[in-house]
Amino acid sequence: MYVAVKGGEKAVKQSRRLVAKMRRGPETVPPIRTNQIEHQMGLGVDRVMAEGSLYDNKAAATALKQAQGDTMEAIFLVRAFRTTLKRFGTSAPIDTQDMQIIRRISGIYKDIPGGQVLGPTYDYTHRLIDFDSDEKKETPLKNQVPTVDSTEQDISPQQMTRVIDILRQQGLMDTASPTTPHKNVEDLTREPLKLPASRSIRLQNLARGDEGFLLGSAYSLQRGFGLDRHPFLGELRVGYIAVKYTPPELGFEIIIGKIKLTECFMINRFDGSENKPPGFENGYGLVFGQSERKAMSMALLDKSLQNSSNSDSKTKYPAQDQEFILSHSDNVESSGFVQHLKLPHYVDFQSELVFIRNLKKEHDKKKETCLEPSI
């Protein structure tokens, strides 16, 4: 029983036992191993890393197993782990031009220098469930495609110009004002969100924000609740990049690891204003792992929030409103608060009961007096 005056401790203990049993499932089925999740459920792991704000495949895979595949629960586990980790320094900013590309596409030009690289994607698969997949004898991948193993991280080391830089060369887009990343980058995970937020904070918020929330919000923009025309995908690239760091005790830069990233430039037409010539503007998305849906949603929202942070712009729809988006994007926060309603609220509800009974009494009395025939 949910409500008990006493015996809470025992109930919680039993519940934990039950959840462990449910997670394990029938013992006739072998348990999954975390390395299977890490390698065969890679996109799920990527999402947990992105929204967990921690690049750690193993932690994410373990969290997914522990949470029975509940992505948000796993993200929560990773966040709770992350918060215990020591911060030992700030890496050098990465330059995505050096990315070892596994996939790179542009929606605005048929062909681009370096080429369109389709890479691994479900985009052009037909979503037909392969019910036979379990019984199929898996032929070793080696025999099917002579491919580089993406986990080997030895992919084309070729530098690829960003499509957005081509538009810049042609004078069709603002040259980047590279706000030289300084040592003291604001950090949303260490400081509370202050509004209005700088672009750097907004991007951090979106990067760890809930994929579903970002997607729905970006979709609302596309459906006219915030955008007045069709945006374009300038470029989407997925690949690996080295993270460099200078330990103070060494004094020179070393590579501390490689991470997989998805980067997106979304392009909108700008018809010009008094101070700015007509051209294109861009929104930016960058997410851990391969998460194209999220990177694209992020880029659309980035643009929308950039527009609405201009003082003269009007905010009419939710996805243009910084406060609305930034305060509601975090699923550890929202999942916690929505579900806190499961907690006992007896005391609060008791006060409501007393109040509403009094109100009702007065209402009934008034009605009675109204109905009494006046003499």
Partner: protein, 278 residues
């Protein structure tokens, strides 16, 4: 466990429902008829509307052409073609002339269409008034009362601000002097091809669950003003493959310095011309 799908994927009841909606759409040119759009094994926004229409009208004797951005060979066109080849085992073609059904995204072929041919457009946003008024209940009223003032005001504001109408694709049209309709995101260059066309043009929006149509030999007028008439985009150079000066050209960037060349967007047309067909 294995599963056998019906001819052209959808079950016959769904197809019948879609065909009925299509007949209604033909009867009220340019009017968006709601329909019970189905989930398809391709994502929304990738042509689910068009695929459902094609699936509903496809017969064993049909020859299907699928283009995306004018090209037969782009990944999405290939994917859709493969879908129908697998699920319906029908003939596919790249030739505009030989096709009985042409499913398209964002283009109308350069080769003139003939009587009996059916064009199926993939439509992302069927509502031409969406960016003026996103609320569907409002736009339904605007269409019902033919209250299109807001649309003309927008076009007028464009002219006042930029000296021209600022819509380059998905340029709104009025069908049969009645409904304002989105021609789908075809370049405005293609708009005139809809007017008095001998072919049937069906438009399917899967995500928004709307079907509309332009019957053969129907007036389709791109919106404009007496003193600011509808104008088409043009290029200063011909196609660098086939030399066409009358087709819609794509810009290709060939190196990091941004060197550009222009080629026909309609690949089949371009190929036919460069092989000396015309």
């Amino acid at each position: 466990m294995s599963h056998q799908y019906n001819f052209a994927y959808l079950d016959e009841q769904s197809k019948k429902m879609i065909r009925r909606t299509m007949l209604k759409a033909i009867a009220i040119p340019g009017f968006q008829v709601p329909f019970g759009g189905r989930e398809m094994p391709l994502p929304y926004g990738w042509g689910t509307g068009g695929i459902q229409l094609t699936a509903a009208i496809l017969g064993k004797e049909d020859t299907l052409k699928v283009i995306d951005q004018g090209s037969d060979d782009t990944v999405n066109a290939i994917s859709i073609k493969k879908f129908f080849k697998t699920t319906a085992d029908i003939e596919v073609t790249e030739s505009t002339e030989n096709a009985t059904i042409i499913q398209t995204r964002h283009r109308i072929p350069e080769t003139p269409l003939k009587k009996g041919q059916i064009m199926v457009f993939q439509v992302p946003i069927p509502e031409p008034l969406q960016f003026i008024e996103p609320r569907r209940r409002e736009t339904a009223k605007m269409h019902a009362y033919q209250e299109y003032g807001a649309m003309y005001v927008k076009l007028y504001e464009d002219i006042a601000t930029y000296g021209r109408i600022a819509t380059a694709f998905d340029y709104p049209v009025q069908v049969n002097q009645r409904y304002i309709m989105s021609p789908s995101p075809i370049p405005k260059y293609d708009n005139p091809k809809l007017n008095q066309s001998p072919a049937i043009h069906f438009f399917g929006a899967g995500r928004e669950k709307r079907i509309y149509a332009v019957p053969p030999f129907t007036d389709v007028k791109s919106l404009d003003f007496e003193d600011y008439s509808f104008e088409l985009e043009s290029w200063n150079e011909p196609c660098s493959i086939c030399g066409s000066t009358t087709s819609f050209l794509d810009e290709i960037i060939t190196d990091d310095e941004g060197t550009r060349l222009f080629i026909c967007s309609d690949t089949e047309y371009c190929q036919k011309r460069s092989q000396g067909g015309e």
